[in-house]
């Protein structure tokens, strides 16, 4: 049911009956290593290309999530997935392996929450009994496609971020035990005229703020309703900007309640500049770490706002600015 301008409230509260997070070697050294279902020591995963390695990560995440949900592959009714590679090949190739009805989505790093919101909508409206959502990213594959990697000899500024190598997946169902999806706010595209791909945090922060404000306005609740409010991958730079911007707009969220997956992911001493980024950043943190904390009873209500920078390598070279989007999903125990 639509409430306010852009928020869906799911009456039946679809349940996340199983979720999984798979990571790479850098994530294994990070803060959240214990919350990953599987960690790989090699970024190639024994494959011939980074793109195939990313597909493998996503396949493993889906496989593990289905298993943890107590289902079989053929029981999955719909699969929604997105990633960062051109034409979302890791997602579509994983769908080929799964051989279930599939919708490919693209919201850059906001894909995970876009998928979760859409899957919840499908379940809540009664069009399916269950649905699988997944997203992946691979550091080397993303660098190769989007950026001017450090391997080419360019020095990165302190505002740059580190793309997570990993994949997250979750099975959403009408019935079952687990955290439940209560509401979702679909974000507008916000472009504040920034064009530096090495400063995604500052570019995406206004989109996150816009969606957070819309969420609280539409539902007429205040931040104290949630135990934790986490943005997707703003990193240290974007997190600080978003926090100050919210305060400036009169929506103060206590420091201990507002966090960012890009900050949670890695340890302070890892050389990741401003923090983590990529589709898998918010996907693995949410579907691994945060849902685990909810299952343990440490958190009851969380709001996850996944942020995505909707640029392409070509749009950047053509001197376009970076449009950004953020989608929020409220999960309750």
């Amino acid at each position: 049911m639509l409430q306010g301008h852009q928020t869906w409230v799911f009456q039946s509260k679809p349940t996340i009956i199983g979720s999984a997070a798979i990571g790479g070697p850098f994530e294994a050294q990070g803060n959240l290593a214990d919350d990953f279902d599987l960690l790989h020591g090699d970024i190639w995963l024994g494959q011939d290309s980074y793109e195939q390695a990313e597909k493998k990560l996503l396949e493993q995440a889906c496989e593990t999530a289905i298993k943890k949900a107590g289902l079989k592959q053929e029981d999955v009714q719909f699969f929604l997935s997105g990633d960062l590679i051109n034409q979302i090949i890791p997602s579509s190739f994983t769908a080929r392996t799964l051989a279930v009805p599939y919708l490919g989505i693209y919201g850059a790093c906001s894909s995970s929450m876009e998928g979760l919101a859409l899957a919840s909508l499908i379940i809540d409206s009664g069009f399916a009994q269950n649905a699988l959502v997944g997203t992946s990213s691979h550091n080397a594959a993303a660098e190769k496609q989007y950026r001017y990697p450090t391997e080419y000899g360019a020095q990165k500024p302190p505002t740059a971020q580190w793309t997570v190598t990993g994949a997250g997946a979750a099975v959403i169902a009408k019935q079952g035990k687990g955290p439940r999806v209560a509401a979702s706010t679909i974000g507008r595209v916000v472009d504040m005229g920034l064009s530096d791909p090495f400063n995604m945090g500052a570019a995406m922060a206004p989109a996150a703020v816009d969606t957070i404000e819309a969420h609280f306005r539409d539902l007429n609740i205040c931040p104290s309703y949630y135990d934790l409010i986490t943005t997707g991958d703003l990193g240290k730079v974007g997190h600080r900007i978003a926090g100050d911007l919210l305060t400036k707009h009169g929506l103060s969220i206590p420091v201990e309640k507002l966090t960012d997956c890009g900050i949670l992911m890695y340890k302070e001493d890892q050389p990741v500049f401003a923090g983590a980024s990529g589709c898998a950043c918010v996907a693995t943190t949410t579907f691994g770490h945060l849902l685990n904390r909810m299952r343990r009873g440490e958190l009851n209500r969380i709001l996850v706002i996944a942020t995505g920078a909707l640029l392409s390598p070509m749009s950047y070279q053509q001197k376009e600015t970076i449009p950004c989007v953020a989608h929020a999903v409220a999960i309750e125990m």
């Binding site: 020095q155 500024p157 302190p158 505002t159 005229g193 920034l194 600080r240």
Partner: protein, 159 residues
Amino acid sequence: MSSSKRKNLTPVQQQYQDFARAREPQRPIAINCVRAFIVGGIICTIGQGLQLFFITYFNFDEKTAGDPTVAVLILISVILTSLGLYDHIAQWGGAGSAVPVTGFANTITSASLDHKSEGFVLGVGGNMFKIAGPVIVFGVFSAFIVAIVKVIITSLGGM
């Protein structure tokens, strides 16, 4: 940001960018310059050492020793890139490791390695000059312009 670019922004965008800039860490330019000086200096010292080595122990003079020196530096750079070490030097040293011939060799090697999965012809062949290509194109072009200017000046009786 240049003032012409800024003119295209709305007041809200300008206001936000000022707001954001006040909260962003800046590139540590002074430290970067010192590091570039150290790394660039070390690479050039090694080069100088190699040149002296070739002059002293082989049959080279100051002019001809340049070729084997560059070849050895390129070889060292390619090995460091292949072992995954050059990017760490690049992140620390910045321009110091990018400007010398070793930086040029690194861009070609790393792009080749990156695109090996797309095959040897379209992958490696098509992408190895991704970064180095423009340098060659504009290097040759500016050399050509300078040469023409020189020819004109000499033919007019100058120099």
